[in-house]
């Protein structure tokens, strides 16, 4: 029971690493920085492995395992402990976070080898891991929010890592501010949560929900309101419509950051949060519908933008936004396990995609534009093959990880209680688009003739520190989905079964928890899966991409010419940033300058303070004129005083008689 009793160790190690590297790292040589950074995360990962072993030996009644270490806040009824909890969902998240973090750390030793501020990078990365683990291990909403905010902070720090670059600074600010808008909704949600349940502890809250009926399908009712507010936080943090605008800009940060934070872990915090709060969401059907709708729309919308981007990282960014939409779609239709499953597989293949893209960029000497690439597959084979595997995974080619998770989600969408056809259709078309633009990426980058000057750019394979993580992630992208594979032959879905206690512990009458379709015979199920729409559309996307970029490369240009309007719209990302700027930012700036600054700050506040001083000065100036040096006037004042006192004596003090 070593780790279960001392869960804080998992948190303390990355924090320690961050502190050591941050405070002392300036003087360390690179190997020491590496040792501290990678060491802390690897020990955390080993602790998680040990934790899993101990967890498996717990009985059902001991789960969720909660350990409270000290009382952090007490204010009347509001009590928040530093309490950590472990259940199956936590285990999945811990595994994903620590493993992918470890691989990114190792990768970074190669990628960031020639960078200034090497120690600072690792310090921030460790700090991020600490906060993410806090978020995942928290046993109450407030501690989770601490982790939530902390990862936002680290995201800001890491996006703006090259802080001398203005675009990086702006991107960091944009990320922080946009997620802040969502966090505001989240905070109000926490307040409402506490007000309703008188506690912020998960177990306490969920136990109270057992007595609650599911609410009506309407934007009313306290549970629906809480869930919607919490979901706005997820919209911000997990880059859904309309708060996704920060994620493409976040590509200004180093590629390992994009891989870890903006693909595998931080952006999945929203998904984790909704999954964790499933007893509440299950009782708020309208909120679930909104979750699914936002997810599906985002999945489709972001996929359309990804079709025409030329920066390799931007394609992957929009792809991330789109895939997160799928996760929310899965959660929103009641298939929580499918959403979390896709979270896990996505962490593997998207992390791999970003790391491989980093490898490509490294090979190209820093160039990220795909029109400058081409024909790289023979020059950087390891990168090519791993990226290809990841592309198969994301496109949903059968056998690879993404296929299983995406298939589950689309199937669940099919049998959703509200607007199932629309959701399913959005998801399906989005999957097709995903397949297309991912294969477009591969074909443009690795196939065809080189479009760069071979004398200027020396393409070389990356060092082992970068390729080994690629290979490990490629393996996981392949086998990672097989935990659900037996489901296809009517066997047990190990993953969903493992997670089901989390999602069925607080069952609501008539709640929508979608855990599977009607049983058919084994072979029928397999055939059905292999020839279902998702597979067809994935292969269709592959085919069209092959046609566009290998068979007849002039087709894209002709297509763009004929559909000039829509093409320009998509190329400029539906003018979303311009729209936000005009509709929100400029008016806000106007109000801030003209009202808040001139009127309130200068007029009222400065006016009041300066006014007081001015009154004092002016009245003093008036009053000092009394001391004129003229004795006659002094005498007059004395007489006035005498008259006054006499009047007082006669009148007020009654000495007249």
């Amino acid at each position: 029971m070593l780790i279960l009793d001392h869960l804080w160790i998992i948190l303390a190690l990355p924090l320690l690493g961050a502190a050591i590297n941050g405070l002392l790292g300036k003087n360390f040589r690179k190997p020491i920085v590496n040792a501290v950074g990678i060491g802390s995360v690897s020990v955390a990962f080993l602790s998680v492995a040990e934790l899993v072993r101990e967890f498996m030996r717990l009985s059902a009644g001991q789960i969720p395992w909660v350990k409270s270490y000290f009382t952090w806040i007490t204010a009347g009824q509001f009590k928040v402990d530093f309490a950590l909890q472990v259940d199956q969902l936590t285990i999945v998240m811990l595994f994903v976070v620590t493993f992918v973090s470890l691989l990114v750390h190792i990768y970074s030793t190669g990628y960031m080898a020639h960078e200034e501020g090497y120690y600072r990078f690792f310090s921030y990365l460790n700090l991020f891991v600490f906060f993410m683990l806090t978020l995942v291990l928290a046993a109450n909403v407030v501690l989770m929010f601490v982790g939530w905010e902390g990862v936002g902070l680290c995201s800001y720090l890491l996006i703006g890592f090259w802080f001398l670059k203005p675009s990086a600074i702006s991107a960091g600010k944009k990320a922080f501010i946009t997620t802040r808008i969502g966090d505001f909704g989240f905070t109000v949600g926490i307040l409402l949560l506490f007000w309703t349940f008188k506690s912020v502890d998960f177990r306490t809250i969920f136990a109270q929900t057992l007595h609650m009926q599911p609410e009506a399908f309407a934007p009313a009712g306290v549970l629906t309101l809480i869930c919607l507010l919490l979901f706005t936080g997820a919209i911000g943090k997990s880059a859904q419509l309309p708060l996704y605008v920060w994620l493409p800009d976040a590509m200004e940060g180093p590629t390992p950051v994009s891989a870890l934070i903006h693909a595998a872990t931080m952006v999945t915090a929203g998904v984790y949060m909704v999954a964790r709060m499933n007893p509440l969401f299950s009782r708020a059907p309208f909120a679930m519908f909104i979750v699914a709708l936002v997810g599906a729309l985002t999945a489709f919308y972001a996929a359309t933008i990804g079709l025409v981007q030329t920066d390799i990282k931007k394609v992957l960014a929009y792809s991330t936004v789109s895939q997160l939409g799928y996760m929310f779609l899965g959660l929103g239709v009641g298939s929580y396990a499918a959403g979390v499953f896709h979270l896990m597989t996505h962490a593997f293949f998207k992390g791999l995609l970003f790391l491989a893209a980093g490898s490509v960029i490294h090979a190209m000497g820093g160039d990220q534009e795909m029109p400058h690439m081409g024909g790289l597959r023979n020059k950087i084979p390891v990168t090519f093959w791993t990226m290809l595997i990841a592309t198969f995974a994301i496109a949903g080619i059968p056998g690879f990880a993404g296929f299983f998770s995406k298939d589950e989600i689309l199937e669940a969408a099919h049998s959703a209680p509200h607007a199932s056809t629309l959701l399913w259709l959005l998801g399906l078309v989005g999957a097709g688009l995903t397949s297309f633009y991912m294969f477009r990426l591969v074909f443009l980058t690795f196939f065809g003739e080189p479009r760069y000057d071979e004398h200027k750019v020396h393409v070389h394979e990356s060092p082992k520190s970068m390729t080994v993580p690629l290979i490990l992630l490629a393996i996981l992208s392949t086998v990672g989905g097989w935990v659900a594979a037996p489901h296809l032959v009517n066997g047990p879905d190990y993953f969903s079964n493992f997670l089901s206690p989390v999602f069925t512990a607080y069952p609501a009458a008539g709640a929508i928890v979608n855990e599977g379709a009607a049983p058919e015979s084994a072979s029928m199920v397999l055939l059905h899966a292999l020839t279902g729409w998702p597979v067809i559309i994935a292969l269709l996307g592959l085919l069209v991409a092959w046609w566009f970029y290998i068979k007849s490369p002039e087709t894209p240009k002709k297509f763009a010419q004929s559909l000039r309007g829509p093409y320009t719209l998509i190329l400029h990302k539906y003018y979303a940033d311009e729209l936000y700027n005009a509709a929100i930012i400029q008016p806000l700036l106007w109000v801030s300058t003209n009202v808040l600054w001139h009127v309130v700050d200068e007029g009222l506040i400065d006016g009041t303070v300066n006014g007081v001083a001015r009154v004092a000065r002016e009245s003093g100036a008036e009053l000092r004129e009394i001391q004129s040096g003229n004795a006659r006037s002094y005498a007059s004042w004395v007489v006035i005083g005498a008259v006054g006192v006499t009047l007082l004596m006669l009148g007020l003090w009654g000495m007249g008689r």
């Binding site: 001391q627 040096g629 003229n630 004795a631 006659r632 005498a635 007059s636 007489v639 005498a642």
Partner: protein, 102 residues
């Protein structure tokens, strides 16, 4: 025997005091102002003597004695100051001796 009621003396004292104040405020020569002060003191002396008579006590008269003595001392020193001021400022107009101001 109809003696004069004490209140008559007190009214006279008040009148003299008021006139002394008016003189103090209106006159510009320092020495004249000093004399106005002496007038006020005299008015007060009259009031004291009247009250001493009214209560049939001698304490009022003792006080008058002391007032006269102090007035004498004050006049001596005050006029010495006036002379010094005149030697420096060459004017006896109190409105032109106004350096003690803001």
């Amino acid at each position: 025997m109809n003696l004069v009621p004490i209140s008559y003396y007190l009214v006279l004292s008040a009148i003299l005091f008021g006139l002394g104040i008016v003189a103090f405020v209106f006159k510009r020569n320092i020495i004249t102002i000093f004399m106005a002060i002496e007038l006020m003191l005299n008015a007060v002396n009259l009031a004291f003597v009247a009250f001493a008579r009214a209560h049939n006590q001698l304490d009022g008269l003792v006080f008058v004695f002391f007032v006269i003595v102090v007035a004498a001392a004050e006049a001596a020193v005050g006029l010495a100051i006036v002379i010094t001021v005149y030697q420096n400022r060459r004017t006896l107009n109190i409105e032109q001796i106004n350096l003690l101001k803001f």
